[in-house]
């Protein structure tokens, strides 16, 4: 029995990595090779796919657009969620528990429900096809999530810390910015990470609310049909590049996320 302990994790990692491996090697193949033969390693190793993405503005602008609204969204969501989460964690007010739960129910509706009203609304106020439009649309899902996560971390900080700071003479905002936020830095990191990921991955709203100027990379990827058919190698390269920011961010918050799980809030 003991000898087999390596087996389960190995299989797990194997199955986990297989699609990613496939995506990455595909990105180094030509579309012809992908379509014609089954190879575990590119026969004809090429960087052409990447070259195309980094040189063609319709491609690389997709990344810039995505990053732009994702970052805006993360900043807005976390900034708005911080005071809200503090209120939920420290004060008792009429209907606080209901409101807290109601916030979460926003997450239960599929984004598609909001696609049409958002499209109408943003067109009416001339926000259509702007980064901020997508960023704002995503806050509908991300603020509740960030409030939920941050509230967990804040409630883990004893109320006596606040009291000590007030007794020491700190006005509320100074305490909040200088002492409280650094104390829950891990929670802010985790909340920002989840906002980032949701916004980065979400396609429907981003696609609906943009046309050219703010078109996200995922939307670009779905429009790669050309005269010669689908350019699979190019798509694989774009897909690989899309994974990188997420992997990058998760690397930095990996320890905090474990803490978030322990709090039962992630």
């Amino acid at each position: 029995m003991r000898k087999a302990t390596w087996l389960a994790p190995t299989l797990y990692i194997l199955f986990l990595m297989l699609p990613i491996y496939w995506l990455v090697i595909m990105s180094f193949k030509t579309t012809n090779e992908i379509l014609s033969v089954f190879t575990l390693w590119p026969q004809d190793f090429t960087l052409e796919n990447y070259e195309k993405i980094f040189t063609d503005s319709t491609w690389y602008n997709g990344y810039f657009n995505s990053l732009a609204y994702v970052l805006m969204n993360t900043v807005i969501a976390v900034t708005a969620a911080l005071p809200a989460a503090y209120a939920f964690s420290r004060y008792r007010f009429l209907g606080d528990k209901h409101l807290f739960f109601w916030l979460l129910t926003n997450r239960m509706a599929p984004p598609a429900v909001f696609a049409l009203p958002f499209f109408q609304l943003y067109s009416a106020v001339n926000l259509f096809d702007t980064h901020i439009a997508v960023a704002l649309a995503h806050t509908l899902f991300n603020i509740p999530l960030a409030v939920w996560i941050l509230e967990g971390f804040m409630s883990g900080v004893p109320k006596e810390l606040d009291e000590t700071a007030y007794v020491d003479g700190y006005p509320f905002w100074r305490f909040f910015l200088r002492i409280f936020m650094p104390t829950i830095a891990a929670g802010i990191g985790v909340a920002a990470f989840f906002c980032f990921m949701f916004s980065w991955v979400e396609l429907l709203l981003a696609k609906t609310l943009t046309s050219v100027a703010a078109k996200p990379i995922a939307a670009t990827m779905t429009r790669t049909a050309s005269t010669s058919g689908y350019e699979l190698g190019l798509l694989a390269a774009a897909g690989t590049l899309t994974i990188i920011p997420g992997a990058f961010v998760i690397y930095f918050v990996r320890n905090y996320i474990a803490k978030g799980f322990a709090l039962g809030r992630v």
């Binding site: 004893p158 000590t164 020491d168 700190y170 104390t183």
Partner: protein, 355 residues
């Protein structure tokens, strides 16, 4: 620097945390708030600090009504039971924080922090983070922050409760010295009667949101005004039972009765409540005032130097506390001796009658 509560009431929603309370704190020595968990010690301190507003009543400080003055402007300092420090600040910054907020000159901050750190033996740790310190050092840091401010009122909310035994004794010795001659009012909350007696000063006994008695610690202990104050100030729990006075004797039951002492002679015949501290009931017959009471042993707790025995008489549990090891077998019948010279008598309304 006198702190005075005038008819203060504290409510939270439908619950009342502090019933109408008036208290004038002393400047000499500690003011000890003694009571069990949820008796209102922390609520009272929050009112004194200004962290909470009373629902009614006023708080006066040095002849000024400070009821509506926010905590930041009151010049108080506070130490909690949990070790509360700013985790992202070094020990130095932690201690310096009240001075920095007050925008004192850098050199003065450095001098004062250095002085207090020396006093609390924190000098070698000034550059560390609180999380790198032991529990005792963390609480010293919190104490240092309370000291450095030269506050008019220092509130210590069970500061030693989370420390281990050795550290607790050590700090308990240091505390009164630290605050002596500082001209500040010190309030110390504790749930341990022994701690109150060791710290001296004045004690207010608290029970369910009410101050039952306030006075010199030793006096409150020896002459409780009512049964509740006596019970709050007793560990293990005080023994109390109904007795009837018949002529010059107090009758507990048909087997146990004793002659009333000098000061109880004048009491009229009738029903009273007797309270006897556990250490006045011992397994050893100690002479003149001793009266025997027999009971069935329920529990025995033996520590190195003393024995605590719970025994049952007519369905009521009694507790005896005595020096030395007295081994009893659970379930056995055993004899104990009440020191009737130390009994306290209370009327049916629980008010103390005579010593």
């Amino acid at each position: 620097m006198t702190l005075e509560l005038r008819n203060v009431i504290k409510r939270a929603g439908a619950e009342t945390h502090i019933y109408e309370t008036s208290l004038k704190l002393r400047e000499d020595g500690f003011n000890i708030l003694l009571g069990t968990t949820l008796s209102g010690k922390t609520s009272l301190m929050q009112l004194m600090a200004g962290l909470e507003r009373p629902a009614d009543g006023e708080i006066w400080f040095d002849g000024k009504n400070v009821t509506k003055v926010p905590v930041q402007k009151r010049n108080v300092s506070m130490v909690h039971q949990q070790f509360i420090n700013y985790p992202n600040f070094s020990v130095f910054e932690n201690i310096a924080s009240p001075l920095r907020v007050a925008r004192l000159p850098r050199a003065e901050i450095k001098a004062r922090v250095g002085q207090v750190a020396e006093l609390l033996r924190l000098s070698p740790m000034l550059d560390r983070r609180p999380s790198e310190l032991s529990g005792g050092q963390q609480q010293r840091t919190a104490l240092a922050r309370a000291l450095v401010k030269d506050a008019d009122v220092v509130l210590l909310d069970e500061p030693l409760a989370n420390l281990d035994y050795k550290l607790r004794e050590e700090l308990r010795d240091e505390l009164p010295k630290l605050f002596r001659d500082r001209g500040c009012t010190v309030v110390y909350a504790t749930s341990e009667p022994t701690e109150a007696l060791l710290l001296g000063g004045h004690t207010a006994t608290l029970n369910e949101g009410r101050i039952t008695q306030f006075g010199e610690t030793a006096k409150v202990y020896r002459q409780p005004m009512d049964l509740i104050s006596a019970a709050v100030f007793s560990d293990p729990p005080i023994n109390s039972a109904a007795v009837t006075k018949q002529g010059d004797r107090f009758v507990l039951n048909d087997r146990v009765s004793w002659r009333a002492g000098e000061s109880q002679r004048t009491l009229s015949d009738g029903s009273y409540v007797v309270a006897i501290r556990p250490h006045h009931i011992t397994p050893v017959d100690h002479g003149a005032n001793a009266v025997r009471i027999d009971g069935k042993v329920l529990v025995t707790e033996l520590s190195g130097s003393e024995s605590v025995v719970h025994f049952e008489v007519d369905g009521r549990t009694w507790i005896s506390q005595s020096h030395g090891i007295h081994a009893f077998h659970v379930g056995d019948q055993a004899s104990f001796y009440i020191d009737t010279g130390r009994c306290m008598y209370f009327g049916q309304d629980n008010e103390r009658l005579a010593a």
